[in-house]
Symmetry: C2
Subunit: 339 residues, 2 copies
């Protein structure tokens, strides 16, 4: 079950009102870096509080709330340890770390969502145009935070993409808007015969180089800088477009899909993924809410349904189009350029 | 299922991070008074947007997110109506309205929870001492908002209390810290033979008079003003103490329970309810998080377990003590003063 389940009684209304309590407890735990402190090393209550800098007054309730949320385990009354999922995904030193997204929620998402009513009334984003949602690449720390958050969200998708195609049929791919190359490096790691390209704005390149170095994947993935609406796209057998289309308006989406079709080798495929809304628009609460996040943070963005995505791909000339659920709330659409 | 369910995989961590999206969608819907607008009267999309003042850009996603959350129903693609639960509890003109709590979440709870890490580090509340959490009774609008929120939370409890005892055995009750008398009036309505008293601080009286007038229950409930720690308590057969003990420190709780024991008629009973934590402190996520809300908003408050409550009641001389779940996340403890 998800935090966005259906309201059935008055108690559920109050619970939905208070749903953010859980977000904030997680955000504080990540801010206090509790899960890195406890990684592989259970600690007794007092020592844990000392080392994490938690005052005794709220400590028991805070830690036991994390137990109830499935983020910590408690042995008897005294010994706290990470739950398996927290140990794997919230220890800052592990590659699966998703706490970057939690930090982004603290510093950017939480304040901007407090302005939802304004956005609904005006139809306008609630972040500055200059620097945008996370402050812009001119501030390297802010940029790294945002990129880490995006890697957290994309982490699970990499695995799904690695098995979404028979990659032996293809020799190259481009991850369009591939940021600092995290997904491209993962996919290359799973299929080392692929020539891997990360295409993003030129100002991304230093972050890409830094990240490849930290992953020890330098030379495995090539970076091509450019604007995917106006600059020439590299030719490749496969184009990946993940968490990109949702940021733009309809005409830009259609234009981008047409440009990808042109750049693809005949017989090549496009992989589009986003947190798509169910076609009936009644069930995917988190996707519909995610679409409001695009309202809050972009000029024309929103999430979309698989049926809409199929229409754009088909309109650009793609065939054999199919859609499938991938990691978490994402849906993947696959289309082929005829030979 | 609740919004505070256990995390089992990395996707759940991201969902918990984003749990506040759902809170904010509900908060905006209540702020736009959507459910009052739709009460008993379905509207087509465009008319609904016009009347609620929602810009077309985010409107579909917002309304369909409310459908997915169970707050609206949609007929075909065009007609939106309240879900039964929203119609009953979120129409401002109905007595069951719980939107006051949602408004409080917007203006007070959401900002104060952004300071959770500070509270955890210092053990100190994050609201001003002067005026406290909601601004104090000197600001009548703020006070009414807070009182409406408390009535929303207590609304369901009134029904449970009405059937928690064989009330024919008793002739009077006092609701201690009974605020503007909402619960006392409900309980008197269910059992009109009872002499009903609402005891609260003297500055509450105008709000009490105003609320009794609006409920048309003037003369059914008596108001006694005073400080329950220092002033004489009225004598009665039953004392109700709901959502009171959690606000105070241990010594004050014990002192208050002892004072109630003294004021009760022999053979009388005390009813204590709060959002109690499970005795093992592993399961009641919302209560444990609610306890952090007391950390954020009070000097020494926190939630507590049924076992702790039984200990205080027993220490004061109560017998035949039992605890039972009541409305929503609340637990009720009942103790008897021996004849």
């Amino acid at each position: 079950m998800t935090p966005h389940t259906e309201v059935r009684g008055p108690g559920d209304i109050l619970q939905l009102t208070m749903a953010f309590y859980g977000s904030r407890a997680l955000i504080s735990a990540v801010e206090l870096d509790l899960f890195t402190l406890l990684a592989g090393k259970p600690l007794p209550f007092e020592e844990l509080c000392d080392r994490a800098g938690i005052h005794p007054r709220g400590a028991r309730d805070f830690l036991d709330a994390l137990v109830a949320l499935g983020l910590l385990d408690r042995e008897g009354e005294e010994i706290y340890r990470n739950s398996p999922v927290a140990d794997r995904y919230l220890d800052r030193r592990k590659p699966g770390y998703v706490g970057g997204y939690t930090r982004l929620a603290d510093t950017k998402l939480f304040p901007v969502w407090a302005r939802l009513t304004d956005a609904l009334r005006t139809g306008e984003k609630q972040v500055p145009s200059q620097g945008g949602f996370f402050g812009g690449y001119a501030d390297p720390e802010a940029a790294r935070g945002f990129l880490g958050a995006m890697d957290a969200v994309n982490g699970g998708v990499g695995h799904s993409l690695a098995s979404a195609l028979d990659w032996t049929e293809y020799s190259s791919f481009v991850d369009l808007g591939g940021a600092r190359g995290n997904l491209a490096a993962n996919l290359h790691g799973a299929h080392p015969h692929l020539q891997a390209t990360c295409f993003d704005l030129p100002e991304m390149e230093p972050f890409f180089q830094e990240h490849m170095k930290s992953l020890e994947t330098t030379d495995h993935v090539r970076f091509v800088g450019g604007d995917f609406f106006t600059d020439a796209l590299p030719r490749a057998d496969v184009f990946i477009v993940g968490h990109i289309l949702h940021y733009f308006g309809l005409r830009q989406r259609e234009a981008l899909v047409a440009r990808i079709h042109q750049a693809l080798a005949p017989g090549g495929v496009v992989l589009v993924y986003d947190r798509m809304i169910d076609d009936d628009r009644r069930n995917a609460a988190l996707s519909l809410l995610g679409s409001l996040n695009m309202l809050l943070t972009s000029d024309e963005g929103r999430e979309y349904t698989p049926a809409e995505c199929v229409r754009w791909l088909s309109g650009a000339g793609f065939t054999d189009i199919r859609t499938t659920a991938v990691s978490g709330p994402d849906t993947l659409a696959i289309g082929r350029k005829p030979r």
